[in-house]
Structure formats: C-alpha cells, structure tokens
C-alpha cells in the first residue's frame, strides 16, 4: 500500500519489496524511510529488498536516505538488500566517495529473495532458456 511517499511497499509474506520508480523528490525519499520502517513492524518482515534499477542517478542525499533505511530497518531486526544498481551509478557513487559500506547488494530480486530463503520462480527466464 502506498504510504506518504506514494511508493508501494509490497509484502511477500515476511519479505518487503520496494521498487523505486523514476525521479525521487527529496520529501518522497524521506517519507519512504517511514513507510518502510512502519511496514517492517506491521508485517514482522525480516528482509527489505529495494530495487533501484530505474534510478539513473544516486547523489549523496539519496545515498544517505538508503543508508538510513538500512540502519533503521536493522534496528527493527530486518536486513536491507539493494538490488539493480546501474553500472554508471555504481561508478559515479564510488568516485563521489560513497561506496555505501554496510549495505548488502544483490544483482537481481530473485538473488536477493534467495538470500532470505524465498524462491521466486523466474518463468520468463525459463522460457528464454528453452528457446
């Protein structure tokens, strides 16, 4: 359900999935932290997967919001995994001097879910492999 940030926080039975879409205004980034921590407590989730594959840039403000989401979720006993960072964003963040220490990352949502012992059957991938 979209909270104050209007970014949906989806609950997959104890695992939260947040897919950040497009431009994220500063105030939405801040309310997202509240939406996620509320959802962690409400659902008793152990994990939060944040998909940032649609973000074409991450600056120090957004990096700090992501780090704070991870830190506050950790205090609530949930682990945050960042998924889908674009290569150009990764290169830029490191050069900016922000390598997001302490944040777990995974290549895909499927990989991240597997970290939490949740299997996502990737039907599209299977179809591709058989053709």
């Amino acid at each position: 359900m979209p909270g104050a940030s209007s970014i949906p926080v989806l609950d997959f039975g104890g695992l939260l999935l947040v897919s950040i879409q497009g431009e994220l205004p500063d105030d939405a980034a801040v309310s997202l932290q509240e939406d996620i921590t509320d959802a962690v407590v409400r659902t008793g989730s152990r994990g939060v997967i944040i998909d940032i594959s649609s973000l074409d840039m991450v600056d120090s403000f957004l990096a700090r919001v992501l780090a704070e989401i991870a830190a506050s979720s950790r205090l609530l006993a949930a682990r945050t995994v960042l998924v889908g960072m674009r290569p150009a964003v990764a290169i830029t963040l490191v050069e900016l001097g922000l390598s997001l220490p302490g944040m777990d990352t995974a290549r895909t949502i499927t990989d991240a879910a597997a970290d939490f012992g949740v299997t996502i059957a990737d039907t599209v991938q299977e179809e591709r492999n058989t053709t």
Binding site: E23, P25, D26, D27, D56, M57, V58, D59, S60, F61, A63, R64, R86, P87, A88, V89, I91, T92, E95, L96, G97, L98
Partner: protein, 144 residues
C-alpha cells in the same frame, strides 16, 4: 578559453522539486551533446549535489546550463549562483567529510572529482558561484 553557443537555460532553485528539473535538463543536454552514459551520470550527479547546496546552504538561487566550445571540443557547463552567506574557507569546504550542516560533506569535494573543470568563487561578504564543465572527449578522439 571556452565560448558559449546557443541560448543558456536558466532554472530557479527555490524548492526541492526544482532539483528534479535541474537534473532532467542537464541529462537531456548531456545526451544531446553525445556524452556516454557514465559521463552523463557523473555530470547529473555533480549538478544534483551543487543544486542542493545552492538550496540548503545558499538559501536558493539559480542554475544556468550552457553548451560550450573550447580546445577540448564541445562541452557542457552548469553554473550555480546564490547570494547566501558565502563560504569563508573554500579549501576547507572542498575537503572530504567537511560539513557545517551535519551532512556527509562529500558534495563539493565529490562533485569536483566527477567533472573535468570545477570553479568555485565565494565572497566572504556573501554569495557563491560554482561552475562545472564536462568535455566530450569521445568527439575529440574522432568518434563522429
């Protein structure tokens, strides 16, 4: 020295949604100049940092985006101007981790690393102007 071509785009920086407009215009022009994806991302990120400084530390101001020509070929310049309190010690402000606002202090120093040219002028009496420029090096090397 570089020379300006075409009409520069001027954008106000008064509220945080203005930062979105700055990023989008810089991205669109960087694509038009033919910057690669990494170079586009570096310039947009540096612009986002400096625009936020203009808003938070400078009390608002404006951004000006210009296409430029110089010895290094075609480039894109973005200037950020405010009439805020100014920066008393520019060298200190440009060091990694220095922040007077409880930030990470990586905005100024980090954005300097992301661009080819970085020029910061600040008057201790007030007012700050930062100009960043990226050059399209792939064009200079003859990929046309």
């Amino acid at each position: 020295m570089s020379q300006t071509s075409a009409e520069p785009i001027r954008l106000p920086i008064r509220k945080d949604t203005d930062l979105t407009a700055v990023r989008q215009h810089v991205r669109a022009l960087a694509q038009r100049v033919g910057f690669g994806l990494v170079q586009q991302t570096k310039l947009v990120t540096a612009a986002s940092e400096l625009a936020r400084n203009t808003l938070l530390h400078g009390g608002g101001g404006m951004a000006q985006i210009s296409l430029v020509h110089g010895e290094r070929g075609q480039g894109l310049s973005v200037s950020f101007v405010d009439s805020g309190p100014g920066i008393p010690d520019v060298g200190l402000a440009l060091s990694d981790g220095y922040s007077t606002a409880g930030g990470l202090g990586m905005g100024l120093s980090g954005s300097r690393r992301l661009v080819h040219d970085f020029d910061l002028k600040s008057d201790p009496e007030g007012g700050t102007e930062v100009t960043i420029t990226c050059w399209n090096d792939s064009l200079r090397r003859g990929f046309r």
